[in-house]
């Protein structure tokens, strides 16, 4: 009989592994004193959770996986952050912004390319930045024809949301990468 139990247990586990839980507005997110997010969901309390964007580029605020702090098991998925309570939205957005730290470039002052490296001087939503990228590696990723992700030599990310919104002069400087 115990053999059957194991089978059942595994089947349950398998079920658990393949099931998709949707986290709805009933779940309670709370900020802990240590600066983490806790979650009250489905009768269980999780004192530290992690949030992961499933479509960080194409749909940043939908399909957010909420995971246990080790990141190994998923508690559930928030289908649409906009459907959650305002407080939850704020808490999760704050967490996401920290985890996906990607300054958005709003203005390009200068790009100088020299001996395999390009030196950027830009204005971002987090302030003025100067960084260097390696031209040899694929430092610039084109998400679409107009959206770019730029990785510096340490793999810090910078984003250009819309190349078309830049001035002619800025675009000409970027021409090297388009």
């Amino acid at each position: 009989m115990s053999e059957n139990n194991t089978i059942n247990m595994y089947e349950k586990k398998a079920e658990e592994m393949t099931a998709t839980h949707m986290i709805t507005a009933e779940a309670v997110f709370e900020k802990t004193e240590g600066g983490f997010l806790s979650l009250e969901y489905d009768g269980k309390h999780y004192d530290r959770i992690k949030v992961v964007r499933l479509f960080p580029f194409s749909d940043a605020n939908r399909y957010i996986s909420v995971r246990e702090h080790d990141g190994n098991s998923e508690i559930g998925i928030i289908e649409d952050l906009g459907q959650m309570s305002e407080k939850t939205q704020k808490l999760i957005e704050h967490q996401l912004n920290l985890c996906y730290f990607t300054p958005v470039i709003s203005k390009i002052f200068k790009i100088k390319d020299e001996y395999g490296y390009a030196y950027f001087h830009v204005m971002t939503d987090k302030g003025e930045c100067k960084f260097a990228i390696n031209m040899g590696s694929n430092a610039v990723t084109k998400l679409s024809d107009t959206r770019l992700i730029i990785n510096d030599v340490d793999e810090n990310r910078f984003e250009i949301r819309d190349v078309d919104k830049l001035s002619m002069k800025e675009r000409r400087m970027l021409d090297l990468f388009l």
Partner: protein, 760 residues
Amino acid sequence: MNEEKLTSKVLTRLNEFNITNTNILLSSPIDLSFDGNYVKGYVVITKDKLAVCTMVLPTNTINYFRGADKGEDLVDNEPGDYDVAVYDIDKLAHVRLDAFIGSNIFCGEYDGEFINIAAFTNRYQQDMNVLYRKLKSFLHGGELVAEEETESEEEEQAEETKKNKRSIFMRTLRYFLRYRLEVIVLMVTYLVSGVINIVWPYLVGKVLFDHVLEKDDAFLSRFNLAGQFMLALLVVAVLMILARVIQSVSNYLQIFVMAKVSSRMSHDIRTDVFDRMSKLSLNFFVNKQTGGLMTRVLSDSDRVREFFIDGLPMIFVHAITIIVTFTVMYRLNWKMALIACILLPLLVFMTVKLRPGLWTLSGKRHRAEKAVTGRANDNLTGARVVKAFGQQDNEIERFRHPSNNLKEAEINIVKLRNRFAILYNMVMEVSSIWIWLVGVFFVLNTHEIELGVLITFVGYVMQLNGPMNFFSWIFRMWSDSINSAERLFEIIDAIPEIQEKEDPVRLTEPKGEIEISNVTFGYKVGRPVLKDINIKVKEGEMLGIVGRSGAGKSTLVNLISRLYDVNEGSIKIDGTDVKDLALKDLRRNVAMVSQDTYIFMGSVAKNIAYGNENATRADIIRAAKLASAHEFICKLPDGYDTIIGASGKDLSGGEKQRLSIARAILADPKILILDEATASVDTQTEKAIQHSLKALVKGRTTLSIAHRLSTLRDADRLIVIDGGRIVEEGTEEELNAIENGIYHNLLELQNKSMALNMDF
């Protein structure tokens, strides 16, 4: 690296908390606040305290990242005051470093509560990682030692050499100077054609028209030809022919020598790079795109060669041509020279103005080309999937986009190039007409110059175009070639992470004992895959390794054959650290049959004998038989001589696997690693292989990774790895006896499902 050190301002502030320069053991800069803004800050550790200092920066601060040049900007580095949070180290436990996208968070348990301690970008990942590792080992009861400086210094040095373009130039020059004799011949031919270029217009213009045709006795008498005009004409004609013949011969010689030197130089650079590349550790290849590496080896060496062979010598030749031509023109008639050259700056201006556009466009075309080949490559290799999902039409549509980009880029280039060529030619025509006009005016009205001089002038001005043009693009060529050279040297200079020790220990009589102690390893800093692994495998023992996919099993065996080096701890074979062993001995004594089999282009026999060239045919067949490969090889059209691999016959997954088992059997190693070696063969074949493996593992130390537990039935001992740690260890019975243990459950499940399958 000064800024990484603690500033006096932060030290003064820390003084208030009784933290001084003398009792600080570890420190690292940080640069993020928890609300996701750039700050300036430090994490500082003393024997009993951990302090986090942060300073909010005003909005106009410039944030610098690694490699950014901050030379000219003189800004106040510390415009605000530091906020300090102090923690007692003895209340701190379970610290961890979480790496996210673009940010990292250092957190831990403090007084029973889990808290965020500090945040930073990848800029300081390395510094923080050192601090974190030391702090962790301290919390685990280890000794806390101050930072070592050596590492960063080395890095700095590497960066220094990288930036030094002069040294790059000199190093490349050395490749070129290997062919000294050829280079001298080249220079001579360049000089000859340069001299003839200068003499020619003079001969055709001044000498022919003004002296011979004008019957200038004074001039001719200098050559004892007074009055003999026909003879003089003949001499000039012969001289002209001679000049052309010499020029042709020197051109021929030049092309011949150039072809020889340039192909050799490319070859030299290529082999150097390839040689170096094959010595680099696996990590290097994982981090770089194969395609990018290919271009480095193939096209970069050509580009370097181009500049050094086609460009460099021509700089001298053209410079001399320009100077001499100007001097001669000036001596002939300085007024005319001035008038003739008046339009030259316009040409220079045009090239300088229009060329950069051409370069950007060709860069664009190059990228478009890459996108198209990438797409095509993707599609052709994935043809099976494309067809199976009926996506042909969509793929065509998807191909159209990059292809269209390429078309546009090409059209743009042709457009600009045409515009450039037409304009250039026009200005040239105008300038020659201009010289004719002014020249004729001079000839008719002032008698200051004669017809011959005019013709000479036209010849010279036309001739100046070439060198002028050359100088407009040579600088670009130079920087391109230095770029390429730098990329090449990056490989040549890359220090292999896996390096054989000087004077390594030889393994003459291997026994096959493995001892793994306290091993921690991760492919990326801060993300350990294996944590604190301890295991000892006796000589001749068979150890089975079980665990979920992604648990770190393959990583562990990769460490044993030293494809990577451990971060912490040590791996010893026969009591010697693998880092001290000769790589040759290590690789010969450790054979691996892994889950991703690689088949080289060549015959079946060559593939089995890979790394073992001396194997006889009989050996090969025996190995194939033992690996249950013989049967299917017999059925191949050309038996053991069948060509397989990239351009040959395709084998199935199981067949490839059996070949790589045969390869390992033939290698006859002391330590055999089977990483899912029988995963893609059917149960019956597995039985057969297992049977042969049984014979094979005798007298060898074997590590076998398997999902199918039946494969491990003969193992002397088993370990279960989960989450990078060994969680269960023992004989099969022992593990099976653990109620609700991972192994116990897995075994039961597999037995059960097998029984279920039997029922059908």
